[in-house]
């Protein structure tokens, strides 16, 4: 029985492969954009301009408070109303990278605040500008502190990318959803989909744990 279904599912392997490729592509692109914007957010959030930090905090809170599915709908259904038409893929990238930026922004801000103030004082005392202090002294240390949580965030991003299937983007989850319509064995189909995600995510989870352990050992 199982073999019968397995054979039929593997008849769909091009769809599965395509879905997996989409999941990886979507996640990677959103990751790069999300990290870039997220570091900008973090610097503003930890920065000296109180008002900018607070205003950005409200924006970030909104995207931390609402479900990602709702955010995907907002991007896909509301942006067109203000004249921005996006394909499902573009909408997915916008929604995913925006959410990633919000979460990464808070992580970066926490990392920057965790660097002892004596560090920026030492940099200040040697005549560095604010930008040099950030680039040469504070940020490199903050990055070390936050690397494990950043990797953890990447895993969340990959998993959240599955939600974009709700607006019809053919990712790994969507490919499972399509296959299960004609091969009615959900356990097997989504078992295989799950294995696909596991292959991508598990090494990252492992890496994050190792980095965390190493981080605890360093600086002592």
């Amino acid at each position: 029985m199982v073999w019968f279904y397995l054979e039929r599912i593997f008849g769909y392997w091009p769809v599965l492969l395509k879905g997996m490729g989409m999941t990886i592509g979507l996640s990677l692109l959103s990751l790069v954009i999300g990290v870039a914007i997220g570091f900008g957010f973090g610097i503003i959030r930890a920065g000296r301009n109180r008002w900018a930090a607070r205003a950005l905090g409200l924006y970030i809170d909104f995207f931390r408070a609402t479900p990602f599915l709702v955010q995907v709908f907002i991007v896909f259904f509301i942006l067109p109303q203000v004249g921005i038409e996006l394909s499902a893929f573009a909408a997915g990238v916008v929604a995913l990278s925006n959410m990633a930026a919000c979460f990464i922004g808070e992580i970066v801000a926490a990392g920057l605040k965790a660097v002892p103030p004596g560090q920026s004082e030492a940099a200040l005392a040697s005549g560095m500008t604010r930008a040099q202090q950030m680039r040469l002294v504070v940020m490199p240390q903050a990055v070390r502190i936050i690397t494990p949580s950043l990797v953890g965030q990447f895993v969340l991003l990959i998993k959240d990318s599955s939600v974009v299937s709700a607006i019809g983007l053919l990712d790994l989850t969507r490919s499972g959803w399509l296959i299960v319509q004609s091969v009615p064995n959900g356990l097997l189909v989504f078992g295989i989909v799950g294995v696909g995600y596991f292959i991508i995510c598990y090494p990252l989870i492992h890496l994050s744990r190792r980095l965390e352990r190493r981080g605890q050992a360093a600086f002592l």
Partner: protein
């Protein structure tokens, strides 16, 4: 070189510097002591603009500290050594020393490293160039910190309790470096309770209490015949430790 006139500073309602007037000449070594919380750190942190103050005037090497634009340049002329070293943990000893010369003074890497190596050798750390701070003892870290300041070729060196975070057996290795520096004619202001150091190289010792300068005297007078009761009281406490 350093000229305070009528400087006042408050932290909120706390009056931490009261009407400070003080002149330090080129090549002079001034030791500052006083009880905890008396404002010693605040005083020397003002000199390179780490702390702003509310009233009075402070001239350092001819630059008015009120001029915030000149501050950046001034800081390159004034070295500061912290009680807690504040070495950059992600950089080796040599990189700690050369970072500001490369990025602030715009020296080439080769020039900066040449200068940095010479200074690390001078403070007795020729074999620790490539060690990271966490691989060094406290005394070694503080000597790297001194070399880091010197590498900017400052005209003035400020020290805020440079040995009070150190184990007793490491204090002298740091003090020896500082004595050498004083003998070379560096203008120095040193917050410390190491009275041996004061006796050996200080031109003047200042006693601070509750934000004010209570007494200023050459070391021999300061230790043998202090003018104020509060100074005597303080000296008897620290000398009996």
């Amino acid at each position: 070189m350093i000229e305070f006139s009528g400087v006042n500073k408050w932290f909120g309602s706390l009056h931490v510097l009261r009407d400070i007037s003080l002149t330090v000449a080129r090549g002079e070594v001034v030791v500052v002591c006083g009880p905890s919380g008396s404002g010693k750190s605040t005083l020397i942190r003002c000199i390179n603009g780490l702390e702003p103050f509310q009233s009075g005037r402070l001239l350092v090497d001819g630059t008015d500290l009120a001029d915030r634009k000149a501050l950046l340049r001034l800081r390159t002329e004034v070295g500061f050594v912290f009680q807690s070293f504040n070495l950059y943990p992600h950089k080796t000893a040599l990189e700690n020393v050369t970072l500001a010369p490369i990025h602030v003074r715009r020296l080439s890497r080769a020039q900066a490293e040449e200068r940095g190596r010479a200074l690390l050798e001078k403070v007795g750390l020729a074999d620790k160039m490539d060690s990271y701070p966490h691989q060094l003892s406290g005394g070694q870290q503080q000597r790297v910190a001194i070399a880091r300041s010197l590498c900017m070729q400052p005209k003035i060196m400020l020290f805020d309790e440079p040995t009070s975070a150190l184990d007793p057996e490491m204090i002298n290795e740091v003090l020896d470096v500082m004595v050498g520096l004083a003998r070379e004619g560096m203008t120095m202001m040193v917050v410390t309770h190491e009275m041996g150091f004061a006796r050996k190289v200080a031109d003047r010792v200042i006693f601070m209490d509750r934000g004010a300068i209570v007494e200023t005297a050459p070391p021999e007078t300061f230790f043998t015949a202090p003018a104020h009761a509060r100074t005597r009281d303080f000296l008897s406490k620290i000398l009996h430790q």
